[in-house]
Symmetry: C2
Subunit: 134 residues, 2 copies
């Protein structure tokens, strides 16, 4: 079992490669098989459970035109058999910031949770209206 | 060591109680002591390391007027000695959706990461302009 930060970052990159390729099957295989998965897409509430999560990914990959997404500034944190990566998601329209959580399943790092939200640093095209009180 | 979902949710609630009370000292004690902590505040990029994370919390608690925040719909996931909670953060101005990650330190669940972003379901006062391509 490979447990270095580089190993986690490779799986994280594989997720964005599958996303950019619009390849649902590759993306789906990077998630754990169990029901205990969840996702928070930008501006949306949480989805829990395999069917809801995977349906959302299929819709996103089907609907996106080209999926011009690129992972930037990834940073990995490992806690035993769990890990998470914080990274930017760079699109032509702007930039998001994401948390991806992984666990070990069948000897490999697999995703269990993803949250992405706006990153409104200067130069970003997205609105700053969503800055709430914290 | 208490490892049930209820135990995690109690610590998660303690975080929001400290936040609502504007009590920096209580909030700070709920985070692990190490440097490996991070936070993504709504609309902002990631902050890494103890000083950056805690400075941000001190500013938020100092600047907020009343901190009318309430945790809703929490759901806990446990993976060995790591856990995460997905929950809404309800403010008078609207609603956010958050991921809080915890690990065991000195026999207690402590926070290592927090991301909050907009949850624009109907009825929410926040803009939907931040809906990007995924």
């Amino acid at each position: 079992m490979n447990k270095t930060a580089d190993d986690i970052l490779k799986v994280n990159q594989a997720f964005y490669d599958a996303f950019a390729a619009g390849d649902y099957d590759r993306l789906e295989k990077l998630w754990v098989k169990s029901e205990d998965i969840s996702v928070i897409h930008p501006g949306n509430t949480a989805l829990n459970g395999r069917q809801a999560v995977m349906t959302s990914w299929r819709q996103i990959l089907d609907n996106a035109d080209g999926n011009e997404i690129r992972c930037a500034n990834p940073k990995a944190y490992i806690i035993g058999e769990t890990a998470y990566v914080i990274c930017n998601e760079v699109f032509p329209e702007g930039r998001l910031i994401a948390t991806n959580i992984f666990k070990i399943e069948d000897g490999a790092w697999r995703m269990v949770h993803h949250q992405a939200g706006p990153d409104n640093r200067p130069g970003n095209l997205m609105s700053s209206e969503n800055r709430l009180v914290h």
